[in-house]
C-alpha cells in the first residue's frame, strides 16, 4: 500500500536514512487491517458469518473491539474488503501471466474464474453465507456503492479481455452483451461450485470449460451454435 496518502516526509530527515514515522504508521495500520481481516475470515469460515461477533473478531486479532470499528464499520465491510482482494488477485493473475496474452478468450475467462475460485476455496462456508447475505435488500455486499464499484471494476476487466479477442472496429454481440451476461454467469458458477461435491471440485472445472465454450460461441455468432 502507498504511504504517500498518509503524510509527507519531513525536509530535515532524508528519507534514505530513516523511514518517516508516517510510513511506519501506515505499515502498522496495514498490518492491523490484515490481522482483522484474517481473524474475521477464519471465524466466518469456522463459526459462520451470522454467528461471528465483532468482539470475537477483535479477540482473535488481538486488538480492542473499538479498533475493529476504526477500520471497518460492519462485518459486511470486512467481507467486501475480502472480495476486493479476490478481484484484484484474479485480475493480476490473468494480466501478469505472459502465456495467457496469446490465449483464446475462453482460456482467459477460464483463468479469471479459476483464480477467483482458488482464492475463495479456503473460505467456502463463508462464501455460501455471503451469497445469501448479498441477496438481502439492505445488504452492503449486494447493493452498496462499494459493491457496485467492485462489480464495475471486475466487468471492465472482462470487457477488456473480450475486446482484445475481437477484430478492431467490428460491432459484436460479444462486446455488447458479454460483460453483463458474464456477471450473471459468474454468480451461477459460484453457486455450482458451492454445491459441487466431486473430488477436487472437478465438475466445476468441466462445467466452466463447457459453458464458456458454448457461451462465447453463441455470443460470437449472435445465434446459438
Amino acid at each position: 500500500m502507498s504511504t504517500l496518502s498518509h503524510g509527507s516526509v519531513p525536509m530535515a530527515r532524508p528519507a534514505a536514512r530513516r523511514r518517516p514515522p508516517a510510513g511506519r504508521r501506515a505499515r502498522h495500520k496495514q498490518l492491523t487491517r490484515d490481522r482483522i481481516v484474517a481473524a474475521a475470515l477464519a471465524l466466518f469460515q469456522s463459526k459462520g458469518f451470522e454467528e461471528t461477533t465483532t468482539r470475537a473478531i477483535a479477540r482473535r486479532a488481538r486488538v480492542a473491539e473499538g479498533t475493529v470499528f476504526n477500520y471497518f464499520e460492519t462485518k459486511e465491510d470486512i467481507a467486501l474488503h475480502f472480495l476486493e482482494l479476490e478481484v484484484s488477485h484474479a485480475i493480476a493473475a490473468v494480466r501478469n501471466h505472459r502465456r495467457l496474452r496469446r490465449a483464446s478468450l475462453e482460456e482467459k475467462l477460464f483463468a479469471l474464474l479459476e483464480s477467483q475460485i482458488a482464492f475463495l476455496a479456503p473460505y467456502e462456508r463463508f462464501i455460501g453465507a455471503a451469497f445469501v447475505q448479498a441477496l438481502k435488500p439492505a445488504s452492503k455486499l449486494g447493493w452498496s456503492r462499494q459493491a457496485a464499484e467492485l462489480r464495475t471494476r471486475y466487468l471492465a476487466f472482462v470487457q477488456e479481455l473480450i475486446e482484445e479477442s475481437l477484430p478492431k472496429g467490428k460491432p459484436s454481440a460479444l462486446a455488447w452483451f458479454g460483460p453483463p451476461a458474464f456477471w450473471i454467469y459468474y454468480l451461477g458458477v459460484l453457486l455450482y461450485w458451492l454445491h459441487d461435491a466431486s473430488p477436487g471440485k472437478q465438475h466445476t472445472l468441466a462445467f466452466i470449460d463447457r459453458s464458456l465454450k458454448l457461451g462465447v460461441a453463441v455470443l460470437r455468432k449472435g445465434t446459438p451454435a
Binding site: 502465456r99 495467457l100 490465449a103 483464446s104 475462453e106 482460456e107 477460464f110 483463468a111 479459476e114 482458488a118 466431486s198 473430488p199 477436487g200 471440485k201 472437478q202 465438475h203 472445472l205 468441466a206 462445467f207 470449460d209 463447457r210 465454450k213
Partner: protein, 435 residues
C-alpha cells in the same frame, strides 16, 4: 477440449450425427442414376469422406465412449471404405486437448499442488491427447524425464451418461438378444475401468513384472510419488508410433519382426499371463529402432479366469474337424463356465469361424508351423469381420469375446498395415502349454 455434457444433450448430438451422416449419402443417391461409372465412384468416395469427417469431428468433440467407438470403427479395415478409415484414423492418434489453464487446474485439483510445485518442469501443452485424458512431458525433482497422464474432468460421468443413453436406444436389440445386456455391461465396466487411474497404476506395475520374460517389450515404471486420483506419472518411453514407422519405409524384415513380436505379445498375455492389454489403438504402441515394443496405456485390461483360458488352449490349433462333436463339446464347456448352453446357431457360427478364419491363418498341422501367413492382402480381415458379424447374429456372445475381439481386431489391423508375414501357428504353439 469439449468436456462431458448431460445425457440428453449428448444423445441429441449422437442423433444429429446419425442424421448428418445419412445426409452425406442422400446427395450421392439422388445423383446416382444420372452418373457414369467413374463419376459415380468418385461421388461415392466423396460421400464416404464427408460422412467420416462428420463422424470424426463429432467423436472428437464428445470424447469418452463415443470416441472409443470411432477408434474401434477405424480398425475395421476390409469392412469400411478406405476413405472412411483414413479419416477415422485421426481418432487413433490425437484429439484436441485441454487448454493449459484447465490442465493445470485439473492437475492441482487432483494432486492438491500445482504441477510447478511438484515437478522441476512441466510442459503446459500435452504431447498426446486421447478419449479420456492427455499426456504431458515433465521432469521430476530428481531430474528424470517422465510422462504425466492427466484425466479430463468429469469424464466418469460422461461415460455413465453415454451408457445410460446407449442402454435406452438399444432396448430393442437387447430384447431380441442381438446385443445382450451382459455385453453392454462388460463394455461399460471396461471403459469405466479406464478412468480408474489407481487400477491402471496397478496394471502397469503388474504387467511390467509379468511381461518381463519378453525382452522386446517395454512397460513404463510408475512414479507413485507423482501420481494421484486422475494423474499417473510414468517413465517416458522412447519409440515411434505405427504411422511414423511406416513413413520411414521399414524393410520387410523389420515389418515381419514387429508383426511376429506383436503376435507373440498377444498370445503370451492370453495364454501365460491370463490377462491382456485390450486397448489396441495405435497411440498405445511405441516401436523402437531395434524392434522393441513399448506399451503405454494399461487402462483397459481384461483378466481371464484360468478355466476360460483352459478352453482357449483346448481349441487353439485344434487338429481335427471343427464341426465334430468333440470340438463342439469343448465349446460347450466354455459356455458352461457362464452357466449357459450353446445354441445351434452359435455352434454353427463358431465352427464356421474356426474353419474359415482360424484354420486358414493358424494352420494346425505341425509341419506347417514355420509357414508365415501374409497379412498384406486384406481378404483375411474381411473374413474375420464377416465371421465376427455372423457370430454376433447368433446371439450367443460371451463377455470375454468382446475384449478378445477388440484386441484381435487391433492386432490384425496392425499386422495388415505392417504387411507383415508371421508364422502364426509356431508362435501360438510356443505358449499353448500350461503356464
Amino acid at each position: 477440449m469439449k468436456p462431458p455434457e448431460g445425457p440428453a444433450r449428448r444423445a441429441l448430438r449422437m442423433a444429429a450425427l446419425t442424421a448428418g451422416v445419412t445426409g452425406s449419402y442422400v446427395g450421392y443417391l439422388a445423383q446416382h442414376a444420372f452418373l457414369g461409372a467413374d463419376a459415380r465412384q468418385q461421388k461415392l468416395k466423396a460421400a464416404h469422406t464427408r460422412a467420416a469427417q462428420r463422424m470424426t469431428a463429432e467423436f472428437l468433440s464428445l470424447r469418452g465412449p463415443a470416441m472409443k467407438l470411432g477408434q474401434t470403427l477405424s480398425l475395421q479395415a476390409g469392412v469400411l471404405p478406405e476413405e472412411m478409415l483414413h479419416e477415422l484414423a485421426t481418432l487413433q492418434m490425437g484429439a484436441p486437448g485441454m487448454h493449459p489453464t484447465l490442465a493445470r487446474a485439473q492437475f492441482t485439483a487432483a494432486m492438491g499442488k500445482a504441477p510447478e510445485a511438484l515437478f522441476r518442469s512441466f510442459a503446459p501443452e500435452p504431447f498426446a491427447a486421447a478419449s479420456l485424458g492427455q499426456v504431458h512431458h515433465a521432469v521430476t525433482r530428481e531430474g528424470e524425464r517422465v510422462a504425466v497422464k492427466l484425466q479430463y474432468p468429469g469424464i466418469r460421468d460422461a461415460v455413465a451418461n453415454d451408457f445410460r443413453w446407449f442402454r435406452t436406444v438399444s432396448k430393442g436389440a437387447q430384447l431380441t438378444r442381438h446385443l445382450p445386456g451382459i455385453v453392454i455391461a462388460e463394455l461399460e465396466e471396461q471403459i469405466l475401468a479406464e478412468t480408474d487411474y489407481a487400477r491402471e497404476r496397478e496394471n502397469l506395475e503388474h504387467f511390467r513384472k509379468w511381461l518381463a520374460p519378453l525382452e522386446f517389450v517395454r512397460v513404463p515404471r510408475v512414479y507413485r510419488k507423482y501420481s494421484g486420483d486422475g494423474v499417473i506419472t510414468m517413465e517416458l518411453l522412447e519409440g515411434a508410433h505405427l504411422d511414423q514407422v511406416l513413413a520411414g519405409r521399414p524393410s520387410q524384415r523389420l515389418r515381419d519382426t514387429l508383426g511376429a513380436r506383436l503376435v507373440e505379445l498377444h498370445y503370451f498375455q492370453l495364454l501365460q499371463v491370463e490377462a491382456f492389454h485390450a486397448d489396441p489403438h495405435w497411440g498405445n504402441y511405441l516401436f523402437g529402432k531395434e524392434g522393441t515394443i513399448g506399451l503405454v496405456d494399461f487402462g483397459c485390461v481384461k483378466h481371464l479366469q484360468p478355466e476360460f483360458v483352459a478352453t482357449l488352449r483346448s481349441v487353439y490349433l485344434y487338429p481335427g474337424d471343427r464341426t465334430s462333436p468333440q470340438f463342439q463339446e469343448l465349446l460347450e464347456q466354455r459356455y458352461a463356465l457362464h452357466g449357459r448352453k450353446l445354441n445351434p446357431a452359435a455352434r454353427k457360427a463358431l465352427a464356421r469361424f474356426a474353419e474359415n478364419f482360424y484354420r486358414v491363418v493358424y494352420p494346425p498341422e505341425m509341419a506347417r508351423d514355420a509357414e508365415p501367413f501374409d497379412f498384406a492382402d486384406n481378404k483375411f480381415l474381411k473374413t474375420y469381420m464377416r465371421e465376427s458379424a455372423n457370430l454376433a447374429k447368433s446371439r450367443c456372445a460371451l463377455p470375454e469375446y468382446l475384449m478378445i475381439a477388440r484386441a484381435e481386431t487391433g492386432l490384425y489391423a496392425t499386422l495388415h498395415r505392417l504387411r507383415a508375414r508371421v508364422p502364426m501357428s509356431r508362435i501360438v504353439r510356443k505358449y499353448l502349454g500350461k503356464r
